[in-house]
């Protein structure tokens, strides 16, 4: 609590903060400009001219569509798995205290705390030891593992704010366990789960490090982009895809923010 109203910040601090935010945002805006450039061979600035033609070219590229479709399917399934596992874990951890509770929290956070390359190579060597061929499901396996933590964080924060007496009241009024879950618990945690699911989707949609180890020959959209970054084939198409990816990931983040903003939890803090 401050004693006076609203002191204004020193000029130096304002400038430093503004510069920091510009540093964070300008590079992303640049992507939008480059999507319209007529230059094909280099990254020349300023763009010699502006055109819409690359959108049409990208639209007609089957490899982009295949990669996009694989990414969406992987993200959808991983999000579902993460929603189930994360909610179960959060419910167990927040409702009761038991032996090994701290270990469970650590276990959930570990896949995101360790560098992605460790998760990736560990999964890959496990697949090769168990002689599991790379498939759609090996990608999902990796993604779901690190998506659990995002759902878990959101759900735990909401469970903490939901008072246990509501559940007891519901039981007192004669609802059985399933009815209580359906009519009391679920409506309370629904928005947190939706937000967690959105973030998990965005996380999986964008993941590249673990995916390079678990995908084999398949291309998700980030893998496609990585290929283009290392061995560029048609730069303007990459520009357009980059812009679309920014827009696609922006949306779930904004929605997740509006779903959880009045709570005290930070929706994205799990990444």
């Amino acid at each position: 609590m401050r004693s006076d109203g609203s002191p204004s910040a020193p000029l130096g601090l304002k400038i430093a903060a503004a510069c920091g935010l510009l540093f964070l945002h300008l590079p992303i805006f640049l992507i939008f400009v480059y999507a319209f450039t007529t230059e094909e061979k280099s990254f020349a600035w300023p763009p010699p001219g502006l055109t819409m033609q690359w959108f049409a070219v990208t639209w007609n590229r089957p490899d982009v569509w295949e990669a996009l479709s694989l990414s969406v399917r992987v993200a959808a399934i991983s999000t579902l798995v993460a929603l189930v596992l994360g909610t179960l874990c959060a419910a167990a951890v927040s409702r009761t205290r038991f032996f090994g509770r701290e270990t469970i929290s650590l276990l959930v956070i570990l896949p995101i705390a360790l560098p992605g390359i460790i998760t990736g190579i560990a999964l890959r060597s496990a697949f090769s030891l168990a002689e599991i061929p790379f498939s759609f499901w090996t990608i999902v396996l990796g993604h779901a593992t690190f998506c659990v933590v995002v759902v878990y964080n959101n759900a735990v924060a909401r469970f903490r704010r939901t008072s246990g007496s509501m559940i007891e009241a519901s039981m007192d009024l004669g609802a059985d366990g399933f009815q209580t879950f359906r009519h009391v618990v679920l409506p309370n945690i629904a928005t947190a789960l939706l937000a967690g699911g959105m973030l998990a989707f965005a996380l999986s949609f964008d993941e590249v490090i673990v995916t390079t180890f678990t995908a084999g020959q398949q291309q998700t959209l980030p893998i496609w982009m990585l290929e283009e970054l290392i061995r560029p084939r048609q730069r303007p198409v990459t520009n357009v895809v980059a812009m679309v990816v920014v827009l696609v990931t922006l949306l779930p983040i904004l929605v997740a923010y509006y779903l959880t903003r009045d709570g005290d939890q930070i929706a994205g803090s799990g990444k």
Partner: protein
């Protein structure tokens, strides 16, 4: 909210016992909450415990195997030879380079993050607060590859940065910097400086959030009291703000340090041909086929982060997460 739904069913004060399997299960869980807990924990623990921790152990195990240098086959016998290989000059060089980069990146992100976090925590209110929050959140969640790609555009020889410096008649500065050993190179996008900038950019939001969380908890009147007692802004920062923000900075540095240690894509796309730990792991397990050495290499960041986390825990950094 559920009273309406339940009223229709509760004509009598005491409900008859729910029928069927569902009722029986419901009663069972009520009488034995431990069973419910077990059933709830089983799927996530099985998934994470077997799939994830199992794979980690399998990986660690392989670091104690060695590779036969002639046949290229993996010799499944316990040996410390692979860890010995890790200590070769070339590999030590890689480890040292990566740790130095991680430390520099952490330091730079702390400096850039502090003003943003401080302004957001102390001065921003209402709409501005939301704006600052989203202003950090959106870059954090934007696509990792797109962010790297954006910097490839910026740092390219024909890109916007060179253009801007030319307009400002400062090209000599860039050329001078690029002609330096170690940090320089042909253009910024193939120099260590470029790698450094991109690392700082990509991990900066991870530093801002915990520092802001730590600063939110500093009461404003503490800063005022300090200046009332005659401290200059510099003294207030050194003796009041900084010590209180330190756990947040340490918490943020866990992310920036760990993420830099394990990354292999940024130095591959923007940087020199000198390897980082992540790239070494990737090439050892891929083209070289030397899984034991790759596994031993992954142990390095795990050990460094273990020590780091231990130190951070002693400084109370986890409360700021």
């Amino acid at each position: 909210m559920t009273i309406v739904a339940l009223n229709s069913k509760s004509a009598s004060a005491i409900l008859p016992r729910g029928g069927g399997v569902r009722g029986a299960l419901s009663d069972l869980f009520w009488r034995k909450p431990k069973l419910l807990l077990l059933l709830m924990l089983l799927p996530p623990v099985l998934w994470l415990g077997i799939v994830y921790v199992g794979s980690l152990f399998a990986l660690l195990l392989q670091s104690f195997f060695s590779i036969d240098e002639f046949s290229g086959l993996i010799n499944r016998q316990f040996t410390l030879k692979t860890y010995g290989d890790l200590l070769q000059a070339a590999n030590l060089d890689i480890i040292l380079r990566t740790v130095t980069m991680a430390a520099l990146v952490t330091f730079a992100s702390a400096i850039i993050a502090f003003p943003i976090a401080y302004y957001a925590a102390r001065y921003a209110r209402g709409r501005w607060k939301a704006l600052f929050y989203l202003g950090v959140m959106l870059p954090l969640w934007s696509s990792y590859l797109v962010k790297i790609y954006a910097w490839k555009l910026i740092l390219a020889k024909e890109g916007i940065l060179t253009w801007l410096l030319a307009k400002l008649h400062l090209l000599w500065l860039l050329d001078g910097w690029l002609s330096l050993p170690v940090v320089g190179g042909n253009s910024l996008s193939v120099s260590s400086t470029g790698t450094f900038i991109v690392f700082v950019y990509v991990w900066l939001p991870f530093m801002i959030l915990p520092v802001q969380a730590a600063l939110e908890r500093v009461p404003g009147n503490l800063v005022e009291a300090s200046s009332d007692l005659g401290a200059s802004p510099g003294q207030t920062f050194r003796n009041v703000l900084f010590p209180l923000a330190l756990p947040g900075i340490v918490a943020g540095s866990i992310f920036t340090f760990s993420l830099t240690l394990g990354d292999y894509i940024i130095p591959q796309i923007i940087g020199t041909s000198r390897l980082f730990i992540g790239q070494a792991v990737y090439s050892q397990q891929g083209t070289a086929g030397n899984i034991p050495l790759a596994a031993a290499f992954t142990v390095v960041p795990i050990v460094i982060m273990g020590l780091y986390l231990w130190g951070a825990k002693r400084m109370g950094a986890f409360d700021a997460l």
